[in-house]
Structure formats: structure tokens, C-alpha cells
Amino acid sequence: MALSSTMDRKNSYGRIKNRNKAIEKRRQGAPLDTRAAFAYMTILLLISLPAFIYLYQNACITQKGYQVQKLEERLTDLSLERERLQLKLDELSAPERVENMAQSRLNMIYPERVEFITIKEPVAETRLASAGRLTGVWNGLVDGLKSLDGLRARLTEVEASQP
């Protein structure tokens, strides 16, 4: 009995000593196990990578957004430029200006007399001419048929007179 208690005391003393050693090692910053370290790094990377990707995406989108804004400003500037040019066009085509230019630069004058020209409609005449031709053809057919009838009647008379 006394021996086992001595052994127990020795073993517990050993465990305590090992534990203190381990604590002392940790306190001194003893390196972790390599595999554990690799595992920790991998987990960290797996967590932080999506976050980085998300942040990068946002930054790109924001950057593109600024570019879009610049293009929209450019579009606005071009629209305004178009309005200015349209106004310029309207000013240049104002009746008074055109008249002044015609008189001063092209030496044009108002006509003393105005000549009116009537233009005959060609479509109506073609239709009439076609209708006339068709009528002529029809009349020719009718005359032909009448003459055939006459010939048939004559032949019948001749046959009847034959013995």
C-alpha cells in the first residue's frame, strides 16, 4: 500500500512536471505543429479570399460607375451641342436672312411677271387609250362572230338545196 501511494505520487509528480514543461514551452512561444499551421492558413485563406474578391468587385464597379458618369456627361455635352447646332441651322434658314442672301450674294430679284404652267396628267390619258383599244378588239370579235353566223346560215341553205 505505501509503495503504490509512492508510485502514484511519483506519477502525478511526473505529470505535473510535464504539464509545467508544456506550459513553460508555450510561454516561451514554442512553434506549433506544421500541419496545424498549414490548416490554420488554409482556413484563413478560404475565409478571406471571397471577402477580397467581393471588395475587388465593388471597387471595379465603382470605377466603372465613374466612367459611366463621365460618358453621361459627354452625352449631355453632345446633346447640348446638337441643340446649339439646331438653333444655328434655324437662324441660318430664317426667311429674312435667306432673302437677303439671295439678293445680295446671288443677285436674285422678285419676278415682274409670274408665268403659270399647267401640267397634263399622263395617267388618265393612258387609261382612256387602253380602254379604246380594248373596245376596238371587242367590236372586231363581235363582227367576226356575226360573219361566221352568216356563213353557217349560207352553208345550211346550200345543203338544204342539194338533192
Binding site: Y66, Q69, R84, L87, D90, P95, R113, V114, T118, K120
Partner: protein, 573 residues
């Protein structure tokens, strides 16, 4: 012993650190969670910026869609003097660009002010030059400016808008509520250097742009009327004038010219009298052109037929101790025996007075009202005068006689033109139309001004008889200068004395001619009136030639074929 002291010190420091961190955490929780809304709003206010979105003012167009009033974007230049480190340098750089002296600009750059306008709506080259200077404390902002590409074309009708795009005169003010639209705004998040944050918080209330107005005016006919009126006024060295071209079958005003006129792009540099639209603002005694109304009334009431002898004109007519004198050129004797038609052709005051007295004051008054006098026509132009027409109860006989030949009554040019349209279109009175419709920016008609038939005034037979009389005026009477080659024309001259402080006299007249063409189915009714011509002052001499040129050019522009035998017509095989 020392180890336990160290441990206790560590515990104390740790405790203090924990207390500090805990208090920081409590403060963080207080700010971030408990006061969350308050600080969130503060941050938003700091980041959020409200941008006004001005509504684009609607345009004004003629009947063919040609623009008469449009908007153009300009850049207004402003400065923030209280942020300037060297105002003198900025002033000297701006002086060369803005065309002002350095001292002048330096005075504007009050160092106590955070915002000062340097030039509103600057021309494009000036704003580009300011932009190129790249001055941090001088910026540009886009604003719209009203522009009138036709310059003086139809300016007395259109009016003008002010610097802040508000209507101030003419159609611009009359239709301001349709033209101006409703401004909007935009709230955006911006970053530290003032750029909008893309995809940030954004609230937009879009502006409702103003609507466009389409007129019945034809720009080409308007130009013709303005050109000929200007020529007539200049030749007569007159104070001013007015010309109106109308479609008698719808009441459409195709042209409405007024002299003097102005350029609405620079309205401030003109006398305000130039802004006036004489067609609706000028009230005057019409004189002999009014005899058309008296004669039409007499025929319609069947007091006389066109060929009946009305009077044997001796040159004067005594009425209630007053005397009406007949105006006969170069001859003090009268016109002799006259029918209704002769009275018009000869422009006989005695004959017209006789017609008026035969009609009676009440009957004449009724026809005068039916023809649209003594009341506004309802044309949508601001400040339209109703003219002057007293109740017949107060008319002595001499007044009835005077009104019969166009004195003692005040009319506007638009009233007179519309009345002659009744004779041109076989007897109906139409409301004059100058605005055809109002449309949204998408082209959808939101308001239409339809042709408005106000009723029959005279029968088609009376109207036709009057047109034949008017044709005689041009062929045989005082209106020979209005005859147009190729087109049958009818009209009436008028030379009305203007009333001064002490009555008639003083040598001031209004010379008028009102007419129609072609006679059988008139396409146009035109009135020309010249105010206070110098030298020759007769309507047949001053106004009729302008009428002729306006009608001739207008009919050709409209493609109306000639109806008279003297037209030169060639057949194209």
C-alpha cells in the same frame, strides 16, 4: 515577494485597461446602436446633395413645325470669393475673358461672399475660355436660355421670356403655365471631392418639361407681310402700321405683322412701344372701310338691293344742324345718283350716312355687334382691346350717320379683318385662331383650339353681292393700286382722320386697305393699315400697294391657281 508585487501591478493595469476598454465599448454601443439614427442622418446630410433639375421650357412653332422660340443650354459663371487666396490674380485672368476690367471684377469678388454670379448664360466661347483657365474657385453651371431663331419674325405675337425663363410678354406670358413645366430635383450621395457616388443612394423626382405650342402662323407668309409692311411704313415715313392675313373659312391667322417691331433676343434694348401688337392693341376709327359693314347690313335687311338708287349725292347732307361732307377727289360737287354699289365704289360719306339712317340706330348697332365689333374677338393674345362702341340709346342721328361711314366707333385691326372674312366666306363669323394646339414633348395633343363658328351674320347672297362691290372698287374705284395680275381682287380703301385733343384735324390719318382674293372663292383676307403717313395719306395710295404685294406673294406661295384672264399660262406637254 517581488513576483507577487509584479503580479498585483499587472492585475491593476489589466483592470484599468479593462475599465477603459469597457467604457470605450459602452460609448461605441451608445453611438453606433442607441444614437444610430441621429448619426446616420448627419452622415447622410453631409454626403447627400440636392441638385435642382430645371424643366425645359416648351417651344413655339409655326403651322408647319418651323421653330419660332426654342431653348438653348448656356453656362453661367459663378465664383466663390471667400475661398480665394489671391483675388487679384483671379480678377486679372477673368478680365481678359469676360471683357470687363480687372477692377470691375475685383469689386464683384466680395471676400465675405461664398457665391457671386460673374455672368449669367454666357456665350459658348466665353464659358469655354473660363473653363480652360481651370480656376478652382470659379465654376460653371448649366442654365437654359430662350432663343428666337427668326430674330424679328412674329416677335410682336410671340413676345419674349426673361432671364429665368419666365414669360414676360406676348404668347410667352399668355401660355406660360403650359410652356414652363414643373422643375424636379435629384438627391445624390457624393464623395469627399464632390463626385456622385455611383450606385449610391439616389432619389430622383424628374422634371415635367413644358409643352410645345403650335400656331396657325405660316412663317413664309409672316415674313412677306412684315417685309411689305416695313416697306410701306418706310416709304410713307409713318409712325407705324399693321398687316393681318387671315383664312376666311376657318378664322386662322396666317400672318400678323406690326410696326415698329423688335428682336426678342435683345428685347431690353428696344422701346417698349415696339413690343406692342397693334393688331389687338390699337383702337382707331376705321373710316371708309367700315362702309362695307353698313352696306352689308342694308342689303341683309333688304332696305335696298345692290342696284337700287339710294341717293342723289350733292356733296353734303344736313343732319340735325350738322353737315356730312362727301369726299370727292378734286371736285367739290357730289357723286350724283348712286346705288349701294356706287356708294362703296365712290366711298361716298353722304351715301353711307343715308344707308345708316335708313337702317336706324338699333338695327345698325345690332349688325355692328354681329360683325364682332365692340367686344373682344377672343383671340388668345394678351391685352386685346374690345374697341369703342356706345349703346344705340345714346346715339343722336348724326352719330348714326358718322358710324355708318366709320367715325364715332373704335375698332381694332383684328376685328376689322375678321368682319371682312364674313363677306369672304359667305356670311359666317369665326373666332380668330392663332394657336392651333398644344402638345406634350411626345407629340400628343393636350389641348386643341378648334375652328369656332360663331354663327351666321349675313346670307351667302349678301356676302356675294358685297364681294362684287369690292371687286368694282379695285377695277373702277379708289382701290386700283390693289389689282393683281392673274387674280381677281376685291377690297375697300379707308383714309380716317385721327382724333386729337381738340377733335379732328391736325393732319394725322390712318390709311387702310382691306380686301380679299380671289373674289369668287376667297383664300385670303388681308388688311393693311398705316398710321400717320407723311405726305400722301390716302389708303388707295399708301396701303393698297402693300396689300397687292402681300396677296400676290402669298397666293403664289400657297399654290393658288390664277382665276383671271390676264394670267400668263403655259401648257406643258
Amino acid at each position: 515577494m517581488s513576483r507577487s508585487l509584479t503580479r498585483s501591478r499587472i492585475r491593476v493595469i489589466t483592470g484599468v485597461m479593462v475599465i477603459l476598454l469597457a467604457s470605450l465599448l459602452v460609448r461605441l454601443v451608445y453611438i453606433q446602436i442607441i444614437q444610430r439614427d441621429k448619426y446616420k442622418n448627419l452622415a447622410m446630410q453631409q454626403r447627400m446633395r440636392k441638385v435642382d433639375l430645371p424643366a425645359s421650357r416648351g417651344g413655339i412653332y409655326d403651322r408647319k413645325g418651323k421653330s419660332l422660340a426654342v431653348n438653348i443650354a448656356m453656362e453661367s459663371i459663378y465664383a466663390s470669393p471667400n475661398q480665394m487666396s489671391d483675388r487679384g490674380r483671379v480678377a486679372s485672368q477673368l478680365a481678359a475673358v469676360l471683357g470687363k476690367s480687372s477692377d470691375e471684377i475685383l469689386k464683384m469678388l466680395d471676400p465675405k461672399r461664398g457665391f457671386v454670379w460673374l455672368q449669367r448664360k454666357a456665350p459658348f466661347d466665353i464659358s469655354a475660355a473660363v473653363k480652360a483657365l481651370n480656376l478652382g474657385t470659379v465654376s460653371l453651371i448649366k442654365e437654359y436660355k430662350r432663343a428666337y431663331p427668326g430674330q424679328e419674325l412674329a416677335s410682336n405675337i410671340i413676345g419674349f421670356a426673361g432671364l429665368d425663363m419666365q414669360g414676360l410678354y406676348g404668347l410667352e406670358v399668355h401660355f406660360d403655365k403650359y410652356l414652363r413645366g414643373v422643375p424636379g430635383y435629384m438627391k445624390v450621395e457624393e464623395d469627399a471631392i464632390g463626385r456622385n457616388i455611383p450606385y449610391g443612394v439616389k432619389k430622383i423626382v424628374p422634371p415635367a418639361d413644358g409643352q410645345n405650342i403650335y400656331l396657325t402662323i405660316d412663317s413664309e407668309l409672316q415674313h412677306i407681310a412684315e417685309r411689305e409692311l416695313k416697306k410701306a411704313v418706310q416709304n410713307a415715313r409713318a409712325a407705324g402700321g399693321c398687316a393681318i392675313v387671315m383664312d376666311p373659312w376657318s378664322g386662322d391667322v396666317l400672318a400678323m405683322a406690326s410696326s415698329p417691331t423688335y428682336n426678342p433676343n435683345n428685347y431690353g434694348s428696344y422701346d417698349c412701344m415696339a413690343w406692342s401688337n397693334r393688331a389687338v392693341h390699337q383702337v382707331y376709327e376705321p373710316g371708309s372701310i367700315f362702309k362695307l359693314i353698313t352696306a352689308a347690313a342694308a342689303l341683309e335687311e333688304k332696305v335696298y338691293s345692290p342696284g337700287d338708287t339710294v341717293i342723289n349725292c350733292s356733296g353734303t347732307l344736313g343732319i340735325d344742324r350738322r353737315t356730312v361732307h362727301c369726299v370727292r377727289h378734286g371736285n367739290s360737287s357730289g357723286h350724283g345718283s348712286e346705288s349701294v354699289s356706287d356708294i362703296i365704289v365712290n366711298s361716298c360719306n353722304v351715301g353711307a350716312a343715308t344707308l345708316g339712317l335708313k337702317l336706324g340706330s338699333h338695327s345698325l348697332y345690332r349688325y355692328v355687334r354681329d360683325f364682332g365689333f365692340g367686344q373682344v374677338t377672343g383671340i388668345p393674345l394678351p391685352g386685346e382691346e374690345r374697341g369703342l362702341l356706345q349703346s344705340p340709346a345714346s346715339w343722336p342721328r348724326i352719330k348714326t350717320a358718322n358710324i355708318a361711314f366709320g367715325q364715332g366707333i373704335g375698332v381694332t385691326p383684328i376685328q376689322m379683318t375678321r368682319a371682312v372674312c364674313v363677306l369672304a366666306n359667305s356670311g359666317k363669323l369665326y373666332r380668330p385662331r392663332i394657336v392651333r394646339d398644344i402638345r406634350t414633348r411626345d407629340g400628343v395633343v393636350s389641348k386643341e383650339y378648334k375652328v369656332e363658328d360663331l354663327g351666321r351674320v349675313v346670307s351667302p347672297e349678301t356676302a356675294a353681292a358685297m364681294r362684287r362691290m369690292m371687286q368694282r372698287v379695285v377695277l373702277e374705284g379708289t382701290g386700283k393700286a390693289a389689282a393683281i395680275e392673274g387674280y381677281s381682287t376685291g377690297g375697300k380703301t379707308g383714309t380716317a382722320q385721327k382724333v386729337g385733343t381738340y377733335g379732328y384735324g391736325g393732319g394725322r390719318y390712318i390709311a387702310s386697305f382691306v380686301g380679299l382674293a380671289p373674289v369668287d372663292h376667297p383664300r385670303l383676307v388681308v388688311l393693311v393699315s398705316i398710321d400717320e403717313p407723311k405726305g400722301a395719306y390716302y389708303g388707295g395710295v399708301i396701303a393698297a400697294p402693300a396689300f397687292k404685294e402681300i396677296v400676290r406673294s402669298s397666293l403664289i406661295k400657297l399654290g393658288v391657281p390664277p382665276d383671271k384672264g390676264d394670267a400668263v399660262i403655259r401648257e406643258d406637254a
